[in-house]
């Protein structure tokens, strides 16, 4: 129950993003509050990645405004954006690990390069090891990204996104192209991060079961695995679903109203294909 009017962690106000000849986002507006999880789905090319990049200020909208932590990203210079971005973690769709650096250097990168993160030099290594242990990649410090499998790369990229313990994390298709077992492991990691660090989470996904896990499961730290959230706890996990279609936000609401939707486009994302 909110005691005072909360400030949204992230706020889109009629955001329109256009590339040369395609409009990737059209008049998108929403607000994400602290502790919330948002699951964003939509067909390929519907603007999901663009939405996350606009949230980071990597793409400037043609019109409309993006606010993160109460500040207007459009009014900031790149150096000021670095400060805001240090409060956000991002998992890129293709992992985007730096392939000239080892896994250890990759995970240490935000600690060493984000000015707003003050990390003493002797603390870097322990934090990197901790983050890699978190994603169960403890033994890969010296390896290069090209020496890891796709799923391991994804996990290393998650370690890089969470190593600074940012209050807001954006995940772009964390389970895309992975086998069901690895995909479940990754989802367990995301939920573990959300439940242990209480981060606000935006997750882009094509798979309905990922959203379902986000909305109905929580991480049991004693047993080290996911378990269904019971009634009381389920209220805690405030999960909002968003559906994009050709750049437009066509649905925003709870899992129940998503499942109740009659719209043929939206239905396709709800019923997992056999």
């Amino acid at each position: 129950m909110p005691r005072e009017a909360p400030v949204p962690v992230l706020r889109f106000e009629n955001v329109t993003v256009a590339f040369d000849d395609v409009t990737a986002l059209v008049e998108v507006s929403f607000e994400a509050f602290e502790g919330e999880s948002r699951v964003i789905t939509g067909a390929a090319g519907s603007g999901k990645t663009t939405l996350l990049k606009a949230a980071l200020g990597l793409i400037q909208p043609q019109s409309g405004r993006v606010y993160a932590f109460g500040r207007d990203l459009g009014a900031m210079r790149e150096e000021e954006l670095f400060d805001i971005r240090s409060k956000m973690g991002m998992l890129f769709q293709e992992s985007a690990l730096f392939d000239s650096l080892t896994i250890e250097e990759n995970v240490a990168y935000p600690l060493l390069n984000q000015k707003a993160i003050h990390c003493a030099p002797e603390e870097v290594k322990p934090r990197v090891v901790e983050a890699l242990d978190f994603v169960e990649l403890g033994g890969t410090l010296e390896k290069f990204p090209s020496e890891l499998s796709g799923g391991m790369r994804r996990r290393a990229a998650i370690a890089r996104a969470v190593v600074t313990a940012p209050p807001l994390i954006l995940y772009d298709s964390p389970t895309a192209g992975l086998d069901p077992i690895t995909a479940h492991t990754i989802m367990a990691l995301l939920i573990k991060e959300r439940d242990t660090a209480r981060t606000t989470t935006l997750m882009v996904t094509q798979r309905y079961q990922d959203g379902n896990l986000m909305a109905n499961f929580r991480y049991n730290s004693e047993q080290g695995r996911l378990e269904p959230a019971r009634n009381g706890a389920r209220q805690d996990l405030h999960t909002v679903f968003m559906v994009l279609r050709e750049g437009r936000l066509v649905f925003e609401g709870s899992q129940e109203s998503l499942e109740a939707s009659r719209d043929s486009y939206i239905c396709k994302f709800v019923k997992p294909r056999a």
């Binding site: 990049k53 980071l56 990597l58 790149e78 670095f82 971005r85 240090s86 956000m88 991002m90 890129f92 769709q93 293709e94 985007a96 690990l97 730096f98 392939d99 990168y109 935000p110 390069n113 984000q114 000015k115 707003a116 993160i117 890089r160």
Partner: protein, 269 residues
């Protein structure tokens, strides 16, 4: 419908120009921020050293080869021409002037353009298409500061150096030919070689590679950073970077040569 052609004609032309004008603007903007970053922290010294090694040491064998053979060929060709005036003894003069003013800077820059403009464009291009450039910005580094400025500095330092080496090796090539086939004494060759050079020659021989280096590195970075369209796009950017930097070397070479000829003024007449 036909009536509208008169109106559409000029705007159609404007549309055609929009792309190139925007590209030039973008290039100048990149140039500006790359130079500005030289004086602004953070300085990525490790990256500069790495690039110097890659560009300088890596291009050394090919620069030496180009220098040696062009010097040798110049000596052979020019001695024939000079023989008609009975001036074979001045082979060293011609070799050193052509090498220092033109062949050394041009050939070395072509080699480096082929090796490094393409290398830079493909490296940055693949980083762009795999979202590593975005990741860099998301993780608190300015890609221009981290990637472009070190390459600019490293190329600018190494290309003049490589040129000097190529010039010298070229003179050695000329000497070998003169000594073996033209019956010139070493002393005769080297004294004409040194005496031929004036400050003016040395200045343009160093200014050219410096300017070319700026062009090669910035063009490589520019095409790399604007890559779109996956691995195919990387190939395209790489080719474009090499072609554009070689074209620019030709144009700038003419401009700089003209400038020095003009500055030398009366000496020509």
């Amino acid at each position: 419908m036909y009536g509208s052609i008169g109106v559409r004609g000029p705007t159609f032309l404007l549309d055609l120009l929009k792309g190139p004008v925007a590209a030039v603007q973008e290039f100048l903007f990149l140039t500006g921020s790359a130079f500005r970053n030289i004086f602004r922290p953070p300085h990525y010294t490790d990256d500069i050293v790495l690039q110097m090694d890659n560009i300088g040491v890596g291009s050394l064998p090919i620069a030496i080869m180009a220098g040696f053979f062009s010097g040798a060929v110049m000596a052979l060709q020019m001695s024939r021409a000079l023989a008609t005036y009975g001036q074979v003894g001045r082979t060293g003069t011609v070799v050193s002037i052509t090498l220092v003013r033109e062949l050394g800077p041009m050939l070395t820059s072509f080699m480096v353009a082929g090796r490094n403009a393409s290398g830079i464009a493909s490296e940055l291009g693949s980083m762009k298409v795999t979202e590593q450039i975005d990741a860099m910005r998301a993780l608190g580094t300015d890609p221009v500061q981290k990637l472009v400025t070190p390459r600019l500095l490293a190329t600018s330092a190494m290309l003049p150096l490589l040129t000097v080496i190529a010039d010298f090796v070229g003179m050695v090539g000329g000497w070998l030919i003169s000594f073996l086939f033209l019956n010139l004494t070493s002393r005769q060759y080297w004294s004409t070689t040194w005496r031929a050079l004036e400050w003016n020659d040395v200045a343009q021989g160093l200014l050219k590679p410096l300017v070319f280096a700026v062009m090669i590195s910035l063009i490589g970075c520019f095409y790399g950073l604007r890559t779109t369209g996956g691995t195919q796009g990387v190939g395209r950017s790489t080719t474009q970077a090499v072609v554009a930097s070689i074209e620019m070397i030709f144009v700038l070479d003419l401009l700089i040569t003209k400038m020095f000829v003009w500055a030398a003024g009366g000496a020509i007449g």
